[in-house]
Symmetry: C2
Subunit: 331 residues, 2 copies
């Protein structure tokens, strides 16, 4: 894999720029630290963009879509056809993410990954061949615009919370109960079944969780591999990333197997209603920007978080300093 | 008081319109309920605005500013002069809220309430006379534009987290430790002192907490009374309100003494870093939209929440239904 060769050259966070950003924040007309997470976000952007003029205007929202053989096991309330139907809805401008990308401006692009060719049922064998997984990863890398200021990542794929749960379980350990939730809405009996399916799959592929691509190949899916590729490519380009929900986070989490700091350029846009997502964020040490109970996917939570990121940039960039405003600082 | 006579005529939430909004939400191309809080916010707006076309374009952000005699007790890290200096900063466009009102468009207006004439030190006697309190309440009512789609309420006032803590303590009971936090940043010793001050004040005026105005008069402040007036007037006009932090919430909470449903048209924009704010929101049964650790005041947290409200409206208003998009609904 191209990406895996680049490990030693991964751009690092610019701590000097971060410190300069913090120094500016401490001069702005507010009690020190009182904008809290908004200050952290501004300093994070400055450190990754290596500037005291952080930019978010050229935002790109990428949605990767894939289909999953594991739906044969009855893990989703919706049929696989809905993935392509929703991709059609994205193209027609009717989905939630279309409205959110207008309200919180961002370029929206949807990348379908062989929807007519679902992955294999990973309770029976690997979801993909190594080549298929590498191709999906590469498709994710290729989708990242080099000039993006910030990337918002989302997904669509009937059955993919099952794949996300399997990846999270494979990467972070524990047991299926920790990682399997109701997804788009299965009933309690179906939830028990979904847990069995995930437990069985993760056990079946034991011994293949040594690296990111192998996890994604065995118990992931095409859109998950592509998401990991997009996160990786954004890092190569030093582009900050807002992760959406459980599926995006699980895909990204696999990268941590390869490089513990692989997600330092990412923030969690929100924590979804899937309990496994909260657990996985804790495992990753990531604090979500929003906690609104959302569980739609398609980048919707991350897109709303972009509004918070922009608010942060607005305050950081345009507030007056105590000196400029002739306001007395803390005595 | 004019406002208190209007109790019986308080506009009620339109449950029929809410139900119609929920019915529409269930037809949109997403699993039912998957936008969670965004759906709740849309239904809340529809119910108060009595329409299935909720509007937030004509948003008004009001900041009420006041000064506090209790600062003589050494409860704030900043001198009282900073209130007027910050009002100057608002006018010059240099404060956080100026940038946030540009990034998340809203008409900003700052109403100064006799800054040159601080309230009395409420450890010695009532903060204000009944007439002064009523005038401040009326100033808050008068500041609400009748044609506002939505109101965002904030405040500025050195010493006013002490007044907020005293009001919360008077309204919701408990003890000073429950309600007193560090405000804009006092040290541990000063925090202990602030707790003593609040405990002493609340005890001194015991017996005067039977109604909203009396609480605000004895242990509140001018901007708190005005905030309560603005909340009340918005209710008369059926205008939805986004409350900011501890001070705004404490002022609004006093109204609950008068009418238990007085805040049904309000949402908590965020929960601040002041522990008393979280406790007070729990006491009120309000779930904050954002939890970003912010503690600046000046409507900053509520203003960021307006972006979430707008995202909610965008999804509600413009998403396609399953039928329109020819997407299969749950089988």
């Amino acid at each position: 894999m191209h990406s895996l060769k680049l490990e030693k050259n991964l751009p690092a966070f610019d701590r000097t720029m971060e410190a300069a950003a913090r120094a500016r924040l401490d001069q702005l007309t507010k009690p020190q630290g009182s904008l809290a997470r908004l200050e952290d976000i501004a300093a994070w952007l400055c450190g990754w963009q290596k500037t005291l003029k952080p930019r978010t205007e050229n935002a790109h929202t990428l949605i990767f879509a894939g289909n999953h053989g594991v739906v044969k096991q009855g893990v989703s309330a919706y049929p696989s056809e809905v993935t392509a139907q929703m991709v059609g809805n994205f193209a027609a401008g009717g989905a939630a993410i279309n409205q959110l990308c207008k309200a919180i401006p961002s370029h929206l692009r949807v990348i379908s990954l062989s929807l007519e060719n679902p992955t294999q049922d990973f309770t029976q064998g690997p979801a993909m061949s190594a080549e298929e997984c590498a191709a999906a990863f590469q498709a994710g890398m290729d989708a990242v615009p080099e000039d993006a200021d910030i990337l918002v990542l989302g997904e669509m794929g009937i059955g993919n919370t099952t794949a996300a749960a399997a990846c999270a379980h494979a990467v972070a350990g524990g047991n299926p109960e920790n990682w399997v939730g109701a997804g788009t809405g299965v009933n309690p009996e179906a939830l028990r079944h979904k847990r069995e399916v995930v437990g069985k799959a993760v056990q079946l592929h034991q011994g293949n969780y040594g690296d990111a691509l192998s996890v994604l190949q065995h118990v992931g899916g095409r859109e998950l591999a592509a998401l990991a590729g997009a996160v990786w490519r954004a890092r190569e380009l030093s582009i900050p990333v807002i992760l959406d929900g459980y599926v995006v986070t699980a895909a990204a989490a696999a990268l941590v197997l390869f490089a513990p700091d692989a997600l330092d350029h990412c923030i969690a846009g929100h924590v979804s209603a899937e309990p496994g997502h909260r657990r996985l964020l804790e495992w990753l040490g990531m604090k979500p920007v929003l906690d609104l109970g959302m569980r739609l996917g398609e980048a919707s939570g991350a897109q709303v978080a972009l509004a918070v990121v922009r608010a942060s940039v607005a305050a950081f960039t345009h507030m007056a300093t105590f000196e400029e405003a002739m306001v007395a600082n803390k005595g």
